[in-house]
């Protein structure tokens, strides 16, 4: 704390120290920053009225007496403005117009990164941002086209509420909590694809307290998207297209037909006699004399049947231009991505229209409109008879896709699911209907009026809405190719599901601003008021058993079987008044603050009053000191410090009031209590302190930025189990506290050797988390499908919680000696898993659970390398995650050896004879020993390093009056990944929920792709 006070003290003192002024004629050299060549004929002007040009060696001599500002201009380069109070350097570098300077990329006071170099060859900006921004972990949910990524900025600050950063498009808040589809299990909609990458000017990631100005929406950081506007009057046209092919990285090694038959016989023999097996499963004893021989004679790798080379294509065009009064930007795009699983697809049509109208010199109007239409064909994930990937992994290799008659002729229908009870994956993909349609609209209207030199006002009103509709028909009654689902005591031979999610929000904001330039300082003050209302509504309907697979709508489902309709609705409102303040002295001391008084409805309705959120930041740039200027090779050496307080009000409305819910009774509906409500439930409050250093060299050959931060979240909401006699399982309490420290580091370098330009860089981030307080609980255990996680006071968050294993019992002696039984009284035998009996009571049960893995990565980031020569450039981007544990749920089924589902080839090393030393236990039908219980056997290291992008680009050397620029490129994405993970892909995220972080239910794997593209600017 002392060091903080000292720093502030020095800062304040320094503000009042007068600087010495230089008074003489100075020689200045002007160089091209990239080529390091002198810039001749640059125009140098001063505010004292001098105007000179540099000579051919880039030199100019200038009398700097009474000069406060020097302006350097040269066509093709960015303008340079030098304040003499910062000293005059002997050399100045000019950067060409199209270079994105590091200086502009990093925030001067706040921890923020502004990306202007947006890759256009994907649906949304997030996929290509993986590994590029320090402190920001971006992971693809899956390889399902259109599903997108999960973005977390500096890790998770909440255990129960959303951890997604706030999304702001052109100043307008866009609610992006998303939803998990009830129709397509595991599908998570992607809010980031609402803007075509071509239409994005920049994306800014606000980290830590930088986002505190957004109050209770800011604790997860924020992502600000600026869309493109016309920046010149001349008409500009850009057209581009790319085409790509994608492919699965690798398949999982499965048993072939003979191996499968042997394994299945082994498993079945633990339950049945060989005669019983013979009569129940004659296909396991197939030979050409059997009547059904032809049905069971194959050796199919079902993965080959469902995965394919997928094609994607994108076309887009942008036009911009206008006159003195009105400028416009129009962008349209068509993007069609096929998934690597047959018949999956996602298509987007996007348009954006932005206008800038100058009604008078002082009165400006901006109108922005973005409209998208999406449609697609999706698949189910998860433990589900309708998941084609699971079906392909589990289905017996002796079968094949189409029905075969006794003569061995293939028939047009799909083969049924047979006694092995696994759906035909091709029937899932071809006989079902799985449609997705989405619309989104973003519109805003923005007026600004410059009242006088210092005052301005701005008002904006915006509306965003989106609607997603999903329809699925799961066939089966006619074809018998998909295993019926058992639900509410009914067999669903076919199913119809329909889901609609609607979101609409209104954002209104009014601002009064004051700008004032003093001799050595600049002051900006904004007083604003903001109103946000966001309505979210879902409707889900379900029916089953239409009379035939030809009937696929809800009204054709059987009214006597189970039907379901459910819905959800909530509205979030937020109203805030804020004052922001930014004061810059001599380009070196910068003080910035926001005070935000906010009222929202993300708390119990009995709490009244508002919240005070805000931030305070200061920075000091040594590089702007005059005494530093004469010799320094550094342009910026900046020390930053900030503190902020923000919140999380994204509570589900169901927690804030005492509520009743309907409960069906007989043929009517009754009402019952829904909850015991918490009349004190409140916003979670996160405070962050960051200390940062930015170091950028003159020519920007080196740019290093480091943030060390610490955050504390109080009022953290956790689910507390109540005593069993309370009637409700538990309540949500603001009972916990969590603190975290972390470092985000990014280094960028560039240099050239003869005509080769090189750029290398990378970033690394970590987050050390600690749950410091857990209310009255020592620990919280939460179950998910297949396992459970625990949070303990003092631990870093959710950890996997299950049994520990010590290999497999080698023989009967070892098993007997252990004297262990499981919860149901089964005594462990040779070949069973040897679980650690933590309680030493001789019983393996949930009391023996220990922490067996931490799904949070230790550190993550990315690095890149770029080489360019003339018009040719090669760019490679890697991203990596180190240390996050993964629960490979799919492997529990592929290595379980408890039924006839096909298995991973690893089961060939299963225990079979006394003395076998192995990690895979014996076969056992139904698993009475519970060898496959949730244990560290299924926890794997999820670390990976992936070449997320490698691009070879060539700028065509053709230039004319009409053709401004043209470029072709060849791109590989995810073409190389190094990991020890045994599943399809270590990069996945089930649904963004902290609880399911690191749980792999085998969603569609992230593919590798090759893309070829062209861009032409006129």
């Amino acid at each position: 704390m002392n060091s903080k006070i000292n720093f502030l003290f020095i800062l304040i003192v320094l503000i009042f120290i007068a600087d010495l002024e230089a008074q003489n004629v100075r020689a200045i050299k002007i160089l091209d920053a990239e080529k390091q060549l002198p810039v001749a004929n640059a125009i140098i002007k001063t505010d004292s009225g001098l105007e000179v040009k540099s000579n051919k060696d880039g030199f100019v001599e200038l009398d700097v007496n009474d000069v406060a500002t020097i302006y350097i201009r040269k066509e093709g380069f960015k303008n340079l403005e030098i304040k003499t109070f910062n000293g005059i350097k002997p050399t100045y570098f000019l950067f060409s117009e199209d270079v994105n300077q590091m200086k502009d990329k990093f925030g001067a006071v706040w921890s923020s990164v502004k990306e202007t170099d947006i890759d256009h060859s994907d649906l949304s900006f997030d996929i290509n941002s993986r590994g590029k921004i320090a402190g920001v972990l971006i992971q693809q949910h899956s390889g399902m086209p259109g599903e997108g990524t999960e973005i977390t900025i500096r890790g998770n600050n909440s255990l129960s509420l959303s951890n997604k950063p706030l999304l702001v498009v052109d100043g307008q808040i866009y609610q992006n909590d998303g939803y998990e589809s009830p129709v397509f299990e595991g599908f998570y909609n992607n809010p980031y694809n609402l803007v075509n990458t071509h239409d994005i000017e920049s994306v800014t990631f606000l980290k830590g307290s930088a986002a505190a100005m957004y109050g209770s929406l800011g604790s997860n950081g924020a992502i600000l998207i600026s869309t493109k506007r016309a920046n010149e009057l001349k008409t500009r046209i850009k057209v581009s297209s790319w085409q790509g092919i994608s492919d699965i990285d690798h398949k999982i090694p499965l048993l072939n037909n003979e191996q499968w038959i042997n394994k299945s016989l082994e498993v079945l023999q633990t339950d049945l006699t060989i005669n019983e097996i013979y009569s129940a499963y004659p296909s396991l004893f197939n030979n050409p004399d059997n009547v059904g021989f032809h049905q069971y004679k194959y050796n199919t790798n079902w993965q080959d049947e469902i995965f394919r080379l997928a094609i994607s294509q994108n076309y887009s065009a942008q036009v911009s231009g206008g006159d003195e009064v009105a400028k416009y930007y129009l962008g349209i795009g068509y993007n069609n991505n096929d998934g690597i699983v047959s018949n999956t697809n996602f298509t987007r049509y996007s348009t954006r229209f932005n206008t800038d109208v100058n009604i008078s010199k002082d009165f400006k109007v901006k109108v922005n409109l973005g409209v998208n239409y999406n449609d697609g064909q999706l698949i189910d994930s998860g433990i589900n008879n309708n998941n084609p990937i699971y079906a392909a992994l589990f289905k017996s290799p002796i079968l094949q896709p189409k029905k075969v008659n006794f003569e061995g002729e293939e028939l047009p229908d799909y083969d049924p699911y047979h006694i092995f009870n696994v759906s035909n994956p091709l029937a899932i993909l071809n006989d079902n209907e799985s449609k997705y349609v989405g619309y989104s609209l973003l519109g805003n209207f923005d007026l600004s009026y410059q009242i006088n030199d210092n005052f301005w006002v701005n008002g904006s009103i915006g509306h965003t809405s989106w609607k997603d509709e999903q329809h699925s028909f799961i066939s089966g009654v006619t074809s018998n190719a998909i295993v019926p689902t058992y639900i509410y005591n009914n067999y669903a031979n076919n199913q119809v599901k329909h889901f609609v999610a609607k979101n609409s929000s209104l954002h209104a904001e009014a601002k009064l601003g004051y700008n004032k330039s003093f001799h050595h300082a600049n002051l900006n003050v904004v007083f604003g008021t903001r109103y946000l209302s966001n309505k979210y509504e879902t409707i889900y309907s379900y029916g089953m058993n239409t009379s035939s697979d030809k009937f696929i709508t809800l009204n054709q489902t059987n009214p006597n079987d189970f039907r379901d309709i459910s819905s959800d609705f909530y509205e979030r409102r937020l109203f805030s008044n804020y004052l922001t303040f930014d004061y810059m002295i001599k380009n070196k001391y910068n003080l910035s603050a926001t005070i935000n008084y906010e009222q929202n409805n993300g708390h119990a309705s009995s709490i009244s009053g508002g919240y005070l959120y805000g931030n305070l930041g200061a920075s000091y740039d040594v590089g702007a000191e005059p005494w530093f200027s004469s010799n320094a090779f550094l342009d910026i050496l900046r020390f930053r410090m900030d503190y902020g307080r923000s919140g999380n009000s994204r509570l589900h409305a169901g927690l804030t009031d005492k509520l009743y819910q309907p409960k069906n009774f007989s043929n009517v509906t009754g009402l019952v209590r829904k909850n015991i409500y918490n009349s004190n439930i409140d916003n979670e409050i996160t405070s962050t302190f960051t200390f940062g250093v930015d170091l950028i060299s003159d020519r920007e050959t080196i740019a290093l930025t480091i943030d060390a931060w610490r955050s504390t979240t109080k009022n953290l909401i956790v689910y507390n189990q109540t005593d069993n006699f309370i009637g409700f399982d538990g309540v949500y309490l603001n009972d916990a506290e969590m603190s975290a420290t972390g470092i985000d580091l990014a280094l960028n370098t560039k240099f050239n050797i003869s005509k080769f330009n090189f750029a290398f860089g990378g970033n690394i981030s970590n987050r050390m988390n600690k749950v410091t307080e857990l209310g009255d609980n020592d620990m919280l255990v939460t179950s998910f499908n297949g396992g459970q996680k625990i949070i303990r006071e003092g631990s870093s968050g959710y950890h996997f919680y299950g049994l520990k294993t010590e290999g497999v019992f080698i023989d009967a002696d070892e098993a007997t000696a252990s004297n262990l039984i499981n919860d149901s009284g089964y005594r462990y035998q040779a070949g069973d898993m040897k679980f650690t009996d933590i309680t030493e009571d001789g019983i393996i049960n949930d009391e023996d659970f220990v922490e067996i893995g931490d799904p949070t990565p230790d550190f993550f980031g990315g690095f890149y390398g770029r080489i360019s020569y003339g018009n040719l450039s090669l760019n490679a981007q890697f991203s990596y995650v180190s240390g996050g544990d993964v629960y490979n749920f799919t492997r529990t089924l592929l290595e379980g050896q408890t039924s006839t589902v096909n298995q991973n080839r690893s089961v060939l090393r299963a225990w079979t004879n006394y003395g076998d030393v192995t990690d895979v236990p014996r076969v056992s039908y139904g698993d009475p020993a519970l060898n496959n219980a949730f244990s560290d056997r299924w926890i794997e290291d999820g670390s990976y390093i992936s070449l997320t992008d490698i691009t070879l680009a060539y700028e065509l050397p053709i230039k004319s009056n009409t053709l401004k620029r043209s470029k072709v490129f060849l791109k590989g994405r995810n073409i190389w990944t190094s990991t020890s993970y045994l599943g399809y892909s270590p990069e996945f995220n089930y649904n963004g929920n902290s609880l399911l972080q690191g749980v792999d239910y085998s969603k569609m794997p992230v593919p590798r792709s090759v893309i070829i593209g062209v861009e032409i600017e006129l």
Partner: protein
């Protein structure tokens, strides 16, 4: 220009200081907000129906406790571990089936109703005083019945009247001392006997809804509950009086347990719906309308995905059923047993799998006969008890009136057709050896009643509690222990028996 600035500032301030709270007021549509409930008479009925519906969520627990932990049922190979450990008396309070949450949720809903309905009453509406009182009494009955079941299953219960609106209210009840089973019995008798509401009153649903609607089937029968409580309280005269009153005095109860057609066509339909004639046999029942989204957890136990049942009938039970002496040249207790309750071959329970809307009886006429016989036996009226158990009161009808011991004039002439529990399903009578002493006779008849109950009320959630009641009566835990252990493999019998000699192990922990 100054003026313009001033005006703009005023505009901004107006925005700032007006209507913040109105702006933030949103309707909570994720549920019905409490201030919108209990506004009308219909709300009162709707909330009461919600409580009826909540009873659906506990029936499977009552059945699992009584049948899986007694000699009746055993887990199948594919049963989940929760059921396995319950069957093996390997109890764990974290077992999701053992958890009493659903029982207490009924209590919370009842308390909520009792508190809020009172306040509705003051506002006045079209619901009459009688109707209102009937609602209150219905909810009170469910509350007492629920506490009674909690006590029987868990051996203890936390009694409270607070509706637990919010978290602070939880603190009011967490420090309560639970009442034991022994304490609960007189406590509930007192509550029922001295209730301010007439607990026999029933809602006139036809007047409230329409002529075809009647939910009184689901309404707990106060007298049946009270009779049971007196029986447990060993107040046998009171119990006998109440059972006599229900069976003899009520016009709408099919007391006779008679009729040839009964067991041939109708018996199994006790567990399905739609036969109004047989409805009379059920005083109170629980029904699941699965098409209206009501998860039938009871049915799920016996009819599982892929044909794999979670629970099977124990071999000991099958033997008991088959070893009964038939008067109809059938295998043992044919009509109640393999015709209705289970399959001999695969030992599947079929009682609840006949119909799409299976019913689980809470109180039915046959059970009242058994309990009446139990009370009469304790009062030394062996002949009466055996008549009810064997061939019925009809055997004492001489054409114009009843003979001794049914000649006291209190027996309605309808009894002349009454077949008795065994007679109705064509089983031979149990006959007492006159050489036995009265005490020996009493004990023997009690054991017969226990066995008859196991056969008659098979898998209906009555078995273990009967064993508990009788074991407590004779202060002899071995009655329960031996019966339960009989279904286990020989190697386990002694372990289970000695475990169950400890009364505390009978109950589920929480």
């Amino acid at each position: 220009m100054k003026k313009v600035i001033y005006r703009l500032q005023v505009c901004l301030l107006v925005l700032v200081f007006f209507g913040c709270d109105d702006f933030l007021e949103t309707e909570n549509k994720t549920g019905l907000e409490s201030d919108k409930n209990y506004q009308t008479a219909e709300d009162v009925s709707t909330n009461m129906l919600g409580i009826f519906a909540s009873v659906q969520d506990v029936m499977h627990k009552i059945i699992i406790f009584n049948e899986l932990r007694s000699d009746a049922l055993e887990p199948s190979d594919t049963a989940p571990i929760e059921l396995l450990s319950i069957a093996n008396y390997n109890d764990n309070a974290s077992n999701s089936i053992i958890k009493p949450n659903e029982f207490y949720r009924i209590i919370v809903n009842c308390n909520d109703f009792l508190q809020n309905a009172e306040s509705y009453k003051l506002s006045g509406d079209y619901m009459s005083e009688d109707q209102f009182n009937a609602h209150m009494s219905d909810v009170l009955r469910i509350k007492y019945w629920t506490y009674w079941n909690i006590s029987k299953i868990y051996g203890k219960a936390y009694y409270f009247d607070d509706p637990l609106d919010q978290i602070e209210d939880i603190d009011k009840v967490t420090n309560l001392v639970p009442m034991t089973l022994e304490e609960m019995i007189p406590f509930l008798i007192e509550k029922i006997e001295n209730s301010t509401y007439d607990l026999k009153s029933k809602v006139d649903w036809r007047a409230l809804f329409d002529a075809n609607t009647d939910f009184n089937f689901y309404s707990i029968d106060a007298e049946a509950l009270l009779g049971e409580l007196y029986l447990w309280n060993e107040d046998y005269q009171m119990a006998a009086n109440i059972y006599h009153r229900i069976l003899n005095d009520r016009p709408d109860i099919n007391i006779t347990l008679s009729g040839e057609t009964y067991f041939k066509n109708g018996y199994r339909n006790l567990f399905s719906s739609g036969l109004s004639g047989l409805n009379n046999h059920i005083l109170t029942g629980v029904e699941y309308t699965e098409t209206n989204g009501q998860l039938n957890k009871t049915g799920q136990l016996f009819f599982q995905e892929g044909g794999e049942r979670q629970l099977l009938v124990s071999k000991a039970y099958v033997d008991m059923s088959l070893s009964q002496e038939s008067t109809d040249k059938k295998d043992g207790d044919f009509y109640r047993g393999q015709r209705t309750s289970f399959n001999v071959g695969d030992r599947a329970v079929k009682k609840y799998t006949f119909a799409a809307k299976p019913r689980v009886p809470v109180y039915r006429a046959a059970e009242l006969h058994l309990k009446y016989a139990e009370a009469l036996n304790q009062l030394g009226e062996f002949d009466k008890a055996l008549a009810l158990l064997n061939q019925g009161v009809s055997k004492y009808w001489n054409g114009s009136n009843f003979e001794s011991p049914f000649d006291d004039g209190s027996w309605h002439p309808k009894w002349r057709n009454a077949k008795g529990l065994r007679g109705r399903v064509k089983l031979a009578s149990r006959v007492l050896d006159d050489a036995l002493s009265d005490e020996e006779k009493k004990t023997l008849i009690d054991m017969w009643i226990l066995e008859e109950g196991a056969l008659e009320l098979a898998f209906e959630g009555k078995r273990l509690e009967s064993l508990i009641r009788v074991s407590l009566r004779y202060n002899d835990p071995s009655i329960l222990a031996e019966k339960v252990a009989s279904k286990f493999e020989e190697s386990q019998v002694s372990t289970i028996e000695s475990l169950l000699m400890n009364q505390e192990k009978w109950f589920w922990p929480y």
